[in-house]
Symmetry: C2
Protein backbone atom coordinates (compact mmCIF):
# COMPACT_ATOMS: atom_id res chain seq x y z
CA UNK A 1 0.00 0.00 0.00
CA UNK A 2 2.74 2.45 0.88
CA UNK A 3 5.31 1.30 -1.63
CA UNK A 4 7.57 4.01 -2.92
CA UNK A 5 7.40 4.12 -6.66
CA UNK A 6 10.66 5.79 -7.55
CA UNK A 7 13.16 8.50 -6.96
CA UNK A 8 10.59 11.20 -7.50
CA UNK A 9 8.19 9.94 -4.86
CA UNK A 10 11.02 9.32 -2.44
CA UNK A 11 12.29 12.85 -2.96
CA UNK A 12 8.81 14.22 -2.44
CA UNK A 13 8.51 12.47 0.91
CA UNK A 14 11.88 13.73 2.01
CA UNK A 15 11.26 17.31 0.95
CA UNK A 16 7.85 17.31 2.60
CA UNK A 17 9.41 16.11 5.82
CA UNK A 18 12.20 18.67 5.57
CA UNK A 19 9.67 21.45 5.13
CA UNK A 20 7.72 20.31 8.15
CA UNK A 21 10.87 19.98 10.21
CA UNK A 22 12.07 23.44 9.35
CA UNK A 23 8.57 24.84 9.95
CA UNK A 24 8.41 23.11 13.31
CA UNK A 25 11.77 24.63 14.16
CA UNK A 26 10.54 28.11 13.37
CA UNK A 27 7.32 27.41 15.20
CA UNK A 28 9.22 26.42 18.33
CA UNK A 29 11.46 29.44 18.03
CA UNK A 30 9.00 32.20 17.30
CA UNK A 31 5.46 30.91 17.45
CA UNK A 32 2.81 30.31 14.83
CA UNK A 33 2.30 33.99 14.05
CA UNK A 34 5.89 34.44 12.97
CA UNK A 35 6.07 31.29 10.87
CA UNK A 36 6.80 32.35 7.31
CA UNK A 37 6.70 30.21 4.20
CA UNK A 38 9.40 32.31 2.60
CA UNK A 39 11.68 31.93 5.58
CA UNK A 40 11.18 28.16 5.55
CA UNK A 41 11.98 28.03 1.85
CA UNK A 42 14.98 30.30 2.31
CA UNK A 43 16.37 28.10 5.06
CA UNK A 44 15.91 25.05 2.86
CA UNK A 45 17.69 26.68 -0.07
CA UNK A 46 14.65 26.65 -2.30
CA UNK A 47 12.60 29.43 -3.74
CA UNK A 48 9.31 30.18 -2.04
CA UNK A 49 7.13 29.28 -4.98
CA UNK A 50 8.59 25.77 -5.06
CA UNK A 51 7.19 25.18 -1.62
CA UNK A 52 3.66 25.46 -2.96
CA UNK A 53 4.17 22.18 -4.76
CA UNK A 54 4.12 20.53 -1.34
CA UNK A 55 1.64 22.62 0.63
CA UNK A 56 -1.06 24.54 -1.22
CA UNK A 57 -1.04 27.33 1.35
CA UNK A 58 0.43 28.46 4.63
CA UNK A 59 -2.70 27.27 6.42
CA UNK A 60 -2.23 23.79 5.01
CA UNK A 61 1.30 23.70 6.37
CA UNK A 62 -0.04 24.80 9.74
CA UNK A 63 -2.73 22.15 9.57
CA UNK A 64 -0.08 19.51 8.96
CA UNK A 65 1.82 20.76 11.99
CA UNK A 66 -1.39 20.69 14.01
CA UNK A 67 -2.02 17.07 13.09
CA UNK A 68 1.54 16.15 13.99
CA UNK A 69 1.26 17.96 17.31
CA UNK A 70 -1.98 16.19 18.19
CA UNK A 71 -0.26 12.94 17.39
CA UNK A 72 2.77 13.84 19.49
CA UNK A 73 0.77 14.74 22.57
CA UNK A 74 -1.42 11.69 22.06
CA UNK A 75 1.63 9.50 21.88
CA UNK A 76 3.02 11.08 25.03
CA UNK A 77 -0.22 10.28 26.83
CA UNK A 78 -0.24 6.71 25.57
CA UNK A 79 3.37 6.22 26.59
CA UNK A 80 2.44 7.10 30.16
CA UNK A 81 0.17 4.07 30.40
CA UNK A 82 1.73 0.94 31.92
CA UNK A 83 3.50 -1.06 29.22
CA UNK A 84 2.84 -4.73 28.69
CA UNK A 85 4.82 -6.53 31.38
CA UNK A 86 4.81 -3.71 33.92
CA UNK A 87 2.97 -4.15 37.14
CA UNK A 88 0.49 -1.32 36.84
CA UNK A 89 -0.13 0.98 39.79
CA UNK A 90 -3.55 1.93 41.11
CA UNK A 91 -5.89 3.67 38.71
CA UNK A 92 -5.77 7.16 40.26
CA UNK A 93 -1.97 7.08 39.96
CA UNK A 94 -2.24 6.08 36.32
CA UNK A 95 -4.68 8.91 35.73
CA UNK A 96 -2.24 11.39 37.25
CA UNK A 97 0.61 9.89 35.24
CA UNK A 98 -1.21 10.43 31.97
CA UNK A 99 -2.05 14.00 32.92
CA UNK A 100 1.53 14.70 33.92
CA UNK A 101 2.77 13.27 30.63
CA UNK A 102 0.54 15.67 28.74
CA UNK A 103 1.70 18.55 30.91
CA UNK A 104 5.34 17.63 30.41
CA UNK A 105 4.88 17.52 26.67
CA UNK A 106 3.20 20.91 26.76
CA UNK A 107 6.01 22.43 28.81
CA UNK A 108 8.55 21.02 26.37
CA UNK A 109 6.64 22.22 23.29
CA UNK A 110 4.75 25.34 24.34
CA UNK A 111 4.25 26.74 20.86
CA UNK A 112 3.00 23.45 19.50
CA UNK A 113 0.68 23.21 22.47
CA UNK A 114 -0.56 26.72 21.75
CA UNK A 115 -1.13 25.69 18.18
CA UNK A 116 -3.57 22.96 19.12
CA UNK A 117 -5.10 24.08 22.41
CA UNK A 118 -4.82 27.84 22.04
CA UNK A 119 -6.83 30.03 19.75
CA UNK A 120 -7.46 28.30 16.44
CA UNK A 121 -5.29 30.33 14.06
CA UNK A 122 -6.05 29.20 10.48
CA UNK A 123 -9.68 29.35 9.54
CA UNK A 124 -12.04 29.06 12.39
CA UNK A 125 -13.27 25.52 11.93
CA UNK A 126 -10.77 22.73 12.29
CA UNK A 127 -10.22 20.73 9.11
CA UNK A 128 -11.55 17.21 9.09
CA UNK A 129 -8.05 15.69 9.18
CA UNK A 130 -7.49 16.95 12.69
CA UNK A 131 -10.44 15.36 14.46
CA UNK A 132 -8.91 11.90 14.58
CA UNK A 133 -5.52 12.78 16.07
CA UNK A 134 -7.21 15.40 18.27
CA UNK A 135 -9.07 12.74 20.18
CA UNK A 136 -6.12 10.55 21.09
CA UNK A 137 -5.60 12.02 24.56
CA UNK A 138 -9.30 11.78 25.20
CA UNK A 139 -9.29 8.17 24.13
CA UNK A 140 -6.47 7.41 26.55
CA UNK A 141 -8.48 8.88 29.42
CA UNK A 142 -11.61 7.01 28.36
CA UNK A 143 -9.70 3.75 28.08
CA UNK A 144 -8.18 4.21 31.49
CA UNK A 145 -11.50 4.89 33.18
CA UNK A 146 -13.16 2.04 31.34
CA UNK A 147 -10.48 -0.34 32.51
CA UNK A 148 -10.90 0.86 36.07
CA UNK A 149 -14.65 0.47 35.80
CA UNK A 150 -14.47 -3.08 34.51
CA UNK A 151 -11.77 -4.08 36.99
CA UNK A 152 -12.89 -2.58 40.26
CA UNK A 153 -15.90 -0.42 39.62
CA UNK A 154 -16.36 3.32 39.96
CA UNK A 155 -18.14 5.75 42.25
CA UNK A 156 -20.63 6.70 39.56
CA UNK A 157 -21.33 10.45 39.69
CA UNK A 158 -25.05 11.21 39.90
CA UNK A 159 -26.97 12.73 37.00
CA UNK A 160 -29.84 15.17 36.97
CA UNK A 161 -32.87 14.25 34.94
CA UNK A 162 -32.33 17.06 32.42
CA UNK A 163 -28.78 15.97 31.76
CA UNK A 164 -29.59 12.29 31.33
CA UNK A 165 -30.55 12.26 27.62
CA UNK A 166 -27.40 14.11 26.61
CA UNK A 167 -25.35 11.89 28.90
CA UNK A 168 -26.74 8.77 27.29
CA UNK A 169 -26.10 10.15 23.83
CA UNK A 170 -22.51 10.93 24.68
CA UNK A 171 -22.03 7.57 26.33
CA UNK A 172 -23.28 5.86 23.19
CA UNK A 173 -20.79 7.85 21.14
CA UNK A 174 -17.76 7.53 23.36
CA UNK A 175 -18.00 4.49 25.58
CA UNK A 176 -21.23 2.57 25.64
CA UNK A 177 -20.03 0.30 28.42
CA UNK A 178 -19.54 3.19 30.83
CA UNK A 179 -22.34 4.64 32.95
CA UNK A 180 -23.57 7.95 31.47
CA UNK A 181 -22.72 9.81 34.66
CA UNK A 182 -19.12 8.77 34.33
CA UNK A 183 -18.96 9.90 30.71
CA UNK A 184 -20.31 13.34 31.57
CA UNK A 185 -17.81 13.72 34.40
CA UNK A 186 -15.04 12.47 32.17
CA UNK A 187 -15.68 14.96 29.39
CA UNK A 188 -15.71 17.73 31.96
CA UNK A 189 -12.50 16.49 33.54
CA UNK A 190 -10.91 16.31 30.10
CA UNK A 191 -11.60 19.99 29.44
CA UNK A 192 -10.59 20.99 32.95
CA UNK A 193 -7.30 19.14 32.68
CA UNK A 194 -6.36 21.24 29.67
CA UNK A 195 -7.52 24.34 31.50
CA UNK A 196 -4.89 23.70 34.14
CA UNK A 197 -2.21 23.15 31.53
CA UNK A 198 -3.22 26.11 29.39
CA UNK A 199 -3.16 28.50 32.32
CA UNK A 200 0.34 27.40 33.16
CA UNK A 201 1.63 27.46 29.58
CA UNK A 202 -0.03 30.73 28.68
CA UNK A 203 1.39 32.52 31.70
CA UNK A 204 -1.77 32.97 33.74
CA UNK A 205 0.01 31.52 36.78
CA UNK A 206 2.98 33.90 36.47
CA UNK A 207 3.67 35.78 39.68
CA UNK A 208 0.98 33.72 41.37
CA UNK A 209 1.77 30.04 41.55
CA UNK A 210 5.26 28.73 42.20
CA UNK A 211 4.98 25.01 42.91
CA UNK A 212 3.06 24.37 39.73
CA UNK A 213 3.60 20.64 39.47
CA UNK A 214 2.38 20.06 43.01
CA UNK A 215 -0.71 22.15 42.38
CA UNK A 216 -1.28 20.37 39.10
CA UNK A 217 -1.00 16.91 40.65
CA UNK A 218 -3.40 17.82 43.41
CA UNK A 219 -5.98 19.23 41.01
CA UNK A 220 -5.66 16.33 38.59
CA UNK A 221 -5.95 13.79 41.36
CA UNK A 222 -9.13 15.50 42.44
CA UNK A 223 -10.30 15.46 38.83
CA UNK A 224 -9.79 11.69 38.78
CA UNK A 225 -11.90 11.36 41.88
CA UNK A 226 -14.63 13.48 40.29
CA UNK A 227 -14.95 10.98 37.45
CA UNK A 228 -15.39 8.17 39.97
CA UNK A 229 -11.91 6.70 40.20
CA UNK A 230 -11.72 4.93 43.56
CA UNK A 231 -9.05 6.28 45.80
CA UNK A 232 -8.56 3.82 48.64
CA UNK A 233 -8.34 6.71 51.08
CA UNK A 234 -11.41 8.86 51.26
CA UNK A 235 -9.81 12.23 50.57
CA UNK A 236 -6.54 14.03 50.14
CA UNK A 237 -4.02 14.61 47.42
CA UNK A 238 -1.85 11.77 46.31
CA UNK A 239 1.34 11.92 44.31
Amino acid sequence: MSTIRGARERARIEVTAAIKDEARKQLAAEGAAKLSLRAVARELGMVSSALYRYFPSRDDLLTALIVDSYDAVGEAAEAALPKAGDTPGPYPARWVAVACAVRDWALAHPHEYALIYGSPVPGYTAPQDTVGPASRVGLVLIGLVREAYLAEGLAVPPLTAELRPEAERMAADLADDLPPGVVVALVGAWAQLFGLISFEIFGQFDRLVEARELLFRRAVHELGRSTGLLDGRSAGAGR
Copy 2:
Protein backbone atom coordinates in the same frame (compact mmCIF):
# COMPACT_ATOMS: atom_id res chain seq x y z
CA MET B 1 -6.98 64.97 37.51
CA SER B 2 -8.61 63.98 34.24
CA THR B 3 -9.42 67.47 33.02
CA ILE B 4 -9.37 67.85 29.28
CA ARG B 5 -6.96 70.61 28.37
CA GLY B 6 -8.28 71.66 25.01
CA ALA B 7 -9.56 70.71 21.64
CA ARG B 8 -6.38 68.84 20.82
CA GLU B 9 -6.57 66.54 23.83
CA ARG B 10 -10.27 65.98 23.29
CA ALA B 11 -9.66 65.03 19.69
CA ARG B 12 -6.89 62.67 20.73
CA ILE B 13 -9.20 60.84 23.11
CA GLU B 14 -11.89 60.55 20.49
CA VAL B 15 -9.56 59.33 17.77
CA THR B 16 -7.96 56.80 20.11
CA ALA B 17 -11.39 55.46 20.97
CA ALA B 18 -12.40 55.35 17.31
CA ILE B 19 -9.29 53.36 16.47
CA LYS B 20 -9.97 50.86 19.23
CA ASP B 21 -13.60 50.56 18.20
CA GLU B 22 -12.74 49.87 14.58
CA ALA B 23 -10.00 47.46 15.63
CA ARG B 24 -12.42 45.64 17.90
CA LYS B 25 -14.85 45.42 15.01
CA GLN B 26 -12.24 43.83 12.78
CA LEU B 27 -11.16 41.58 15.64
CA ALA B 28 -14.70 40.33 16.09
CA ALA B 29 -15.10 39.81 12.36
CA GLU B 30 -11.86 38.11 11.42
CA GLY B 31 -9.80 37.40 14.51
CA ALA B 32 -6.57 38.79 15.85
CA ALA B 33 -4.42 37.35 13.08
CA LYS B 34 -6.29 39.26 10.39
CA LEU B 35 -6.38 42.56 12.24
CA SER B 36 -4.50 45.07 10.11
CA LEU B 37 -3.43 48.57 11.06
CA ARG B 38 -3.75 49.72 7.50
CA ALA B 39 -7.28 48.38 7.23
CA VAL B 40 -8.25 50.15 10.44
CA ALA B 41 -6.78 53.40 9.19
CA ARG B 42 -8.45 52.95 5.81
CA GLU B 43 -11.83 52.43 7.42
CA LEU B 44 -11.34 55.53 9.52
CA GLY B 45 -10.41 57.63 6.51
CA MET B 46 -6.91 58.30 7.69
CA VAL B 47 -3.57 57.28 6.33
CA SER B 48 -1.82 54.39 8.03
CA SER B 49 1.15 56.37 9.26
CA ALA B 50 -1.12 58.74 11.15
CA LEU B 51 -2.25 55.86 13.28
CA TYR B 52 1.21 55.49 14.76
CA ARG B 53 0.68 58.77 16.61
CA TYR B 54 -1.83 56.90 18.75
CA PHE B 55 -0.36 53.43 19.02
CA PRO B 56 3.37 52.92 18.61
CA SER B 57 2.90 49.49 17.04
CA ARG B 58 0.37 46.87 16.15
CA ASP B 59 1.22 44.97 19.31
CA ASP B 60 0.43 48.00 21.40
CA LEU B 61 -2.98 48.24 19.80
CA LEU B 62 -3.54 44.57 20.54
CA THR B 63 -2.41 45.09 24.11
CA ALA B 64 -4.95 47.86 24.50
CA LEU B 65 -7.65 45.53 23.19
CA ILE B 66 -6.46 42.83 25.58
CA VAL B 67 -6.78 45.17 28.54
CA ASP B 68 -10.25 46.20 27.44
CA SER B 69 -11.29 42.58 27.01
CA TYR B 70 -10.04 41.64 30.46
CA ASP B 71 -12.02 44.53 31.82
CA ALA B 72 -15.13 43.53 29.91
CA VAL B 73 -15.12 39.94 31.11
CA GLY B 74 -14.29 41.10 34.62
CA GLU B 75 -17.22 43.46 34.54
CA ALA B 76 -19.48 40.68 33.29
CA ALA B 77 -18.41 38.52 36.21
CA GLU B 78 -18.98 41.31 38.72
CA ALA B 79 -22.39 42.05 37.28
CA ALA B 80 -23.42 38.47 38.00
CA LEU B 81 -23.00 39.02 41.73
CA PRO B 82 -26.14 39.98 43.66
CA LYS B 83 -26.63 43.74 43.52
CA ALA B 84 -27.18 45.79 46.65
CA GLY B 85 -30.84 45.32 47.57
CA ASP B 86 -31.24 41.89 45.99
CA THR B 87 -31.90 38.94 48.22
CA PRO B 88 -28.89 36.83 47.32
CA GLY B 89 -29.27 33.13 46.65
CA PRO B 90 -27.15 30.39 48.17
CA TYR B 91 -23.42 30.54 47.56
CA PRO B 92 -23.15 27.59 45.14
CA ALA B 93 -25.80 29.23 42.95
CA ARG B 94 -23.88 32.51 42.99
CA TRP B 95 -20.73 30.64 42.02
CA VAL B 96 -22.49 29.06 39.07
CA ALA B 97 -23.99 32.42 38.12
CA VAL B 98 -20.58 34.05 37.92
CA ALA B 99 -19.21 31.19 35.83
CA CYS B 100 -22.18 31.34 33.49
CA ALA B 101 -21.73 35.09 33.09
CA VAL B 102 -18.13 34.56 32.03
CA ARG B 103 -19.19 31.81 29.64
CA ASP B 104 -21.94 33.97 28.16
CA TRP B 105 -19.49 36.79 27.58
CA ALA B 106 -17.08 34.40 25.91
CA LEU B 107 -19.77 33.02 23.62
CA ALA B 108 -20.77 36.56 22.67
CA HIS B 109 -17.16 37.68 22.07
CA PRO B 110 -15.25 34.59 20.97
CA HIS B 111 -12.38 36.43 19.30
CA GLU B 112 -11.85 38.72 22.25
CA TYR B 113 -11.93 35.68 24.50
CA ALA B 114 -9.34 34.01 22.30
CA LEU B 115 -7.24 37.12 22.54
CA ILE B 116 -6.97 36.90 26.31
CA TYR B 117 -7.33 33.20 27.11
CA GLY B 118 -5.97 31.69 23.93
CA SER B 119 -2.39 31.63 22.78
CA PRO B 120 -0.65 34.85 23.65
CA VAL B 121 -0.13 36.47 20.23
CA PRO B 122 2.11 39.53 20.67
CA GLY B 123 5.37 38.88 22.43
CA TYR B 124 5.34 35.98 24.76
CA THR B 125 5.21 37.75 28.10
CA ALA B 126 2.17 39.78 28.92
CA PRO B 127 2.84 43.49 29.37
CA GLN B 128 2.58 44.82 32.89
CA ASP B 129 -0.60 46.77 32.10
CA THR B 130 -2.57 43.58 31.66
CA VAL B 131 -1.97 41.95 35.03
CA GLY B 132 -4.41 44.17 36.90
CA PRO B 133 -7.46 43.75 34.64
CA ALA B 134 -6.51 40.11 34.09
CA SER B 135 -7.20 39.29 37.72
CA ARG B 136 -10.68 40.75 37.97
CA VAL B 137 -12.52 37.48 37.35
CA GLY B 138 -10.24 35.74 39.83
CA LEU B 139 -10.95 38.45 42.40
CA VAL B 140 -14.68 37.95 41.98
CA LEU B 141 -14.31 34.24 42.67
CA ILE B 142 -12.07 34.88 45.67
CA GLY B 143 -14.48 37.45 47.05
CA LEU B 144 -17.40 35.09 46.66
CA VAL B 145 -15.67 32.24 48.43
CA ARG B 146 -14.42 34.52 51.18
CA GLU B 147 -17.93 35.79 51.78
CA ALA B 148 -19.23 32.24 51.95
CA TYR B 149 -16.44 31.28 54.34
CA LEU B 150 -17.12 34.15 56.70
CA ALA B 151 -20.88 33.71 56.55
CA GLU B 152 -21.41 30.01 56.83
CA GLY B 153 -18.02 28.31 56.67
CA LEU B 154 -16.54 25.98 54.12
CA ALA B 155 -15.66 22.32 53.82
CA VAL B 156 -11.94 23.04 53.82
CA PRO B 157 -10.16 20.78 51.33
CA PRO B 158 -7.25 18.89 52.91
CA LEU B 159 -3.64 19.69 52.10
CA THR B 160 -0.62 17.45 51.83
CA ALA B 161 2.45 18.43 53.78
CA GLU B 162 4.48 19.17 50.66
CA LEU B 163 1.84 21.50 49.30
CA ARG B 164 1.37 23.42 52.54
CA PRO B 165 4.19 25.99 52.21
CA GLU B 166 3.10 26.98 48.72
CA ALA B 167 -0.51 27.06 49.85
CA GLU B 168 0.32 29.40 52.69
CA ARG B 169 2.32 31.64 50.39
CA MET B 170 -0.54 31.84 47.92
CA ALA B 171 -3.05 32.46 50.69
CA ALA B 172 -0.93 35.34 51.98
CA ASP B 173 -0.88 36.81 48.48
CA LEU B 174 -4.48 36.32 47.54
CA ALA B 175 -6.69 36.06 50.61
CA ASP B 176 -5.02 35.83 53.98
CA ASP B 177 -8.31 35.24 55.74
CA LEU B 178 -9.03 32.05 53.80
CA PRO B 179 -7.65 28.63 54.78
CA PRO B 180 -4.69 27.68 52.54
CA GLY B 181 -6.47 24.53 51.41
CA VAL B 182 -9.32 26.62 50.05
CA VAL B 183 -6.97 28.94 48.19
CA VAL B 184 -5.23 26.03 46.48
CA ALA B 185 -8.55 24.51 45.45
CA LEU B 186 -9.77 27.89 44.30
CA VAL B 187 -6.81 28.57 42.03
CA GLY B 188 -7.26 25.14 40.50
CA ALA B 189 -10.97 25.69 40.03
CA TRP B 190 -10.25 29.04 38.40
CA ALA B 191 -8.04 27.43 35.76
CA GLN B 192 -10.43 24.54 35.27
CA LEU B 193 -13.36 26.88 34.77
CA PHE B 194 -11.59 28.49 31.84
CA GLY B 195 -10.65 25.08 30.54
CA LEU B 196 -14.33 24.29 30.17
CA ILE B 197 -15.01 27.59 28.43
CA SER B 198 -11.97 27.37 26.17
CA PHE B 199 -12.85 23.88 24.98
CA GLU B 200 -16.31 25.06 24.04
CA ILE B 201 -15.18 28.31 22.38
CA PHE B 202 -12.27 26.73 20.54
CA GLY B 203 -14.40 23.97 19.08
CA GLN B 204 -13.07 21.02 21.02
CA PHE B 205 -16.63 20.00 21.90
CA ASP B 206 -17.80 20.10 18.27
CA ARG B 207 -19.48 16.89 17.18
CA LEU B 208 -19.19 15.65 20.76
CA VAL B 209 -21.21 17.66 23.23
CA GLU B 210 -24.64 19.06 22.43
CA ALA B 211 -26.17 20.31 25.67
CA ARG B 212 -23.16 22.42 26.48
CA GLU B 213 -24.73 24.74 29.00
CA LEU B 214 -26.07 21.83 31.03
CA LEU B 215 -22.69 20.13 31.02
CA PHE B 216 -21.03 23.40 31.93
CA ARG B 217 -23.35 24.04 34.84
CA ARG B 218 -22.84 20.56 36.19
CA ALA B 219 -19.06 20.79 35.99
CA VAL B 220 -18.95 24.27 37.48
CA HIS B 221 -21.23 23.29 40.30
CA GLU B 222 -18.89 20.44 41.06
CA LEU B 223 -15.98 22.87 40.87
CA GLY B 224 -17.67 25.00 43.52
CA ARG B 225 -18.01 21.98 45.76
CA SER B 226 -14.34 21.17 45.26
CA THR B 227 -13.39 24.54 46.71
CA GLY B 228 -15.50 23.84 49.78
CA LEU B 229 -18.74 25.65 48.99
CA LEU B 230 -21.44 24.00 51.09
CA ASP B 231 -24.20 22.49 49.07
CA GLY B 232 -27.09 21.70 51.35
CA ARG B 233 -27.60 18.44 49.52
CA SER B 234 -24.66 16.06 49.58
CA ALA B 235 -24.23 15.57 45.86
CA GLY B 236 -25.76 16.20 42.46
CA ALA B 237 -25.89 19.01 39.98
CA GLY B 238 -27.99 22.01 40.79
CA ARG B 239 -28.99 24.86 38.58
